[in-house]
Amino acid sequence: MVHEFEMKANVDRRSFMMCALASGAALGVGEFPASLAAAPLPGGAQKQDDAQFTVEAKFYQKLENKKIKCKLCPRECTVGDRERGYCGVRENRGGTYYSLVHSRVCAAHVDPIEKKPLFHYLPGTVAFSLATAGCNVNCKFCQNWDISQSRPEQVPAEFTPPQRVAELAKQYDCPTIAYTYSEPVVFSEFLMDAADAGHAAGIRSIVVSNGYMQQEALKAAYGKMDAVKIDLKSFTESYYKDVVTGQLKPVLDSLVTLRKMDKWTEIVYLVVPTLNDDDAEFLGLARWIKTNLGVDVPLHFTQFHPEYLLKNLPITPVPTLERAKAIADAEGLHYVYIGNVPGHPAQNTYCPKCRKMLVERIGFTASKNLIHKDSCPFCQHPIPGVWHT
């Protein structure tokens, strides 16, 4: 099962269920026609035809002796002939680098946009959400490790070319295509082509990403996005090294670049007890955002649930999330949310000026949206975001 956030909070589940069903989204599990839902291969007996998913990669450099240097993400893997990069979905064949996952969709659902989470982007709408296998990091808490940490041939997938992606989005009344679940950086070629097909059909694109990308690739690929949600895993290099197997600075650089590109961006910070939950880190993060991105960038502190290689840690206590929010609020950030705790008032959007509630959310559903002409209807303070299709 692929999910972005598991609903484990003990809140008004009945009303949440009613809202979820009303919005057409089952609890993290989309319902798809058999043509799209890839059935698991029985005992791995069938092999997929890899050729249909294989395209020459963008963003790489050829080296001597048939080696290549990937330029997609800061790892800059130097990959020998017959080897793959760290992500597992790009392969060197005779000195040419290939993506093995173009159109190789292993997960596809219709999700509420709030599930990404994107709270200031077309609230109440749904996104046609898809992923391929692979990832360029290895977060120990990954909830989708069964696809992110797998090679594409290990995960059943459907051939879903860009045009088909756009058709399906239209068919399911999704104004947006979302590239998500695993790590869209590693399927940039497919993402770019699907975004083009979507735009030609009047469908927007958003990406849910770790932002761990080189600048040229970021501008080319995420330059085609209409909104971006970045998972900022922590505010220390040591956490990125030990828990994520990545680096912090390139992600911060990505955020700054997205700001300069005027891309609507929201940030999620998954709070993991004992690892990235101290006040100094929250304060440093809030100050950095205020200085470099501005006070209007939404910041979501979300609750961790034990998963993958961190099953020994507890769920994030809600008071910890509230403390993080309080620190960020005190620094002057306008839109600080608490995520993965259904029913918590910090899931709602409030006017930063008059403090009236503008968007009410229950779980993944925006049950009330009072924003009018991109402003607070009570005091006319501008509320940044993409509020209307």
């Binding site: 791995g44 080897e83 597992g88 290895n138 490790w145 041939e153 993958y308």
Partner: protein
């Protein structure tokens, strides 16, 4: 099987034996390995390692009737640089003579297509020796973890064998420095690409610590009939040479250390820098020997290299 002899008080720890068996006439006058000479070479190596007069006695120390034996080959290098077919056939022959049923032997690696490209004939089902890749049976759903690694394991390992014979190839590696016995276990896990940073260190050692692997491992038979000193792990004929040898040991760390020295000697002979000078010394070998792993020894004073 005989019980271990009681330790003598004050006696130094026993050395790890690494047997290097060579046959300069292994290919006769041609380029293909002669099956009978390969069998003889294998026998000589095994008899020396186990200090036995007959090969069958050596193999009987490793397997018992009823055992299910996995012969983990390395097929990445295609026909030019994969575990030698004649060697694998010889291993399977001796296993059967030691009482293992043919149908209980599986020759395997991660991918069936790779096995075929390396010249192996696929066989799944029936009473003969089995040969297929993990792609045919998939990986276990559950993760196992040790140290820095968390992976799903091949169901060939977990469900099809209780004894593991490791048959790697002697070659260098562009990241790890060398890829010999210990790194051949990357073919058991579903996510080896995650464990290449930092020269595959400490990941190679951690993978070999996984109980499902460690409990099954009996022997490493490193194919050095054709070896490679540069450009690995893919086959680069211009950098390969015919060593016409087998390296055999029950200590995979000692074997990797010994194989590394052979590769360095060849590199020096060819005028190439050491792996250390190229920034890819195989540090994983020391990690595998350290107090946190103790998979074997990399101390040359505790390795007895016996050339036959």
């Amino acid at each position: 099987m005989e019980l271990l002899a009681p330790a003598q008080p004050g006696a130094p720890p026993a050395k790890s034996k690494v047997v290097i068996a060579r046959d300069d006439l292994l290919r006769g006058t041609g380029s293909t390995v002669d099956s009978r000479r390969m069998l003889a070479l294998l026998d000589r190596a095994m008899q020396t390692l186990f200090d036995r007069d007959h090969a069958n006695e050596a193999w009987s120390r490793l397997v018992r009737p009823g055992d299910k034996v996995g012969v983990k080959v390395n097929a990445l290098g295609g026909r030019g640089l994969s575990s030698n077919l004649q060697l694998v056939e010889a291993i399977c022959e001796r296993l059967q003579e030691a009482g293992t049923k043919a149908g209980d032997i599986v020759v395997w690696d991660r991918d069936s297509d790779e096995l075929e490209r390396a010249g192996f004939h696929l066989s799944m089902g029936g009473n003969g020796v089995q040969c297929f890749g993990t792609d045919r049976v998939d990986y276990e759903q559950e993760l196992v973890a040790y140290g820095s690694v968390g992976s799903r394991l091949s169901r060939i390992l977990t469900q099809r064998c209780n004894v593991l014979i490791n048959v790697p190839v002697l070659k260098d590696h562009d990241g790890a420095g060398v890829t010999i016995a210990l790194k051949n276990m990357y073919g058991v896990i579903h996510n080896p690409n995650k464990y290449h940073p930092n020269g595959c260190n400490p990941y190679i050692a951690d993978v070999n610590m996984l109980p499902e692997i460690r409990s099954r491992m009996r022997l490493t038979l490193c194919d050095a009939t054709t070896a490679q000193y540069e450009g690995g792990p893919a086959y680069k004929p211009e950098y390969s040479w015919k060593e016409n040898a087998l390296l055999v040991s029950q200590d995979p760390v000692a074997l990797d250390y010994t194989g590394w020295r052979i590769i360095e000697r060849k590199r020096a002979e060819k005028g190439l820098k050491t792996l250390e000078a190229e920034g890819r010394a195989p540090h994983y070998i020391a990690t595998a020997a350290d107090a946190g792993h103790r998979l074997g020894t990399n101390d040359p004073r505790r390795i007895a290299v016996i050339e036959v």
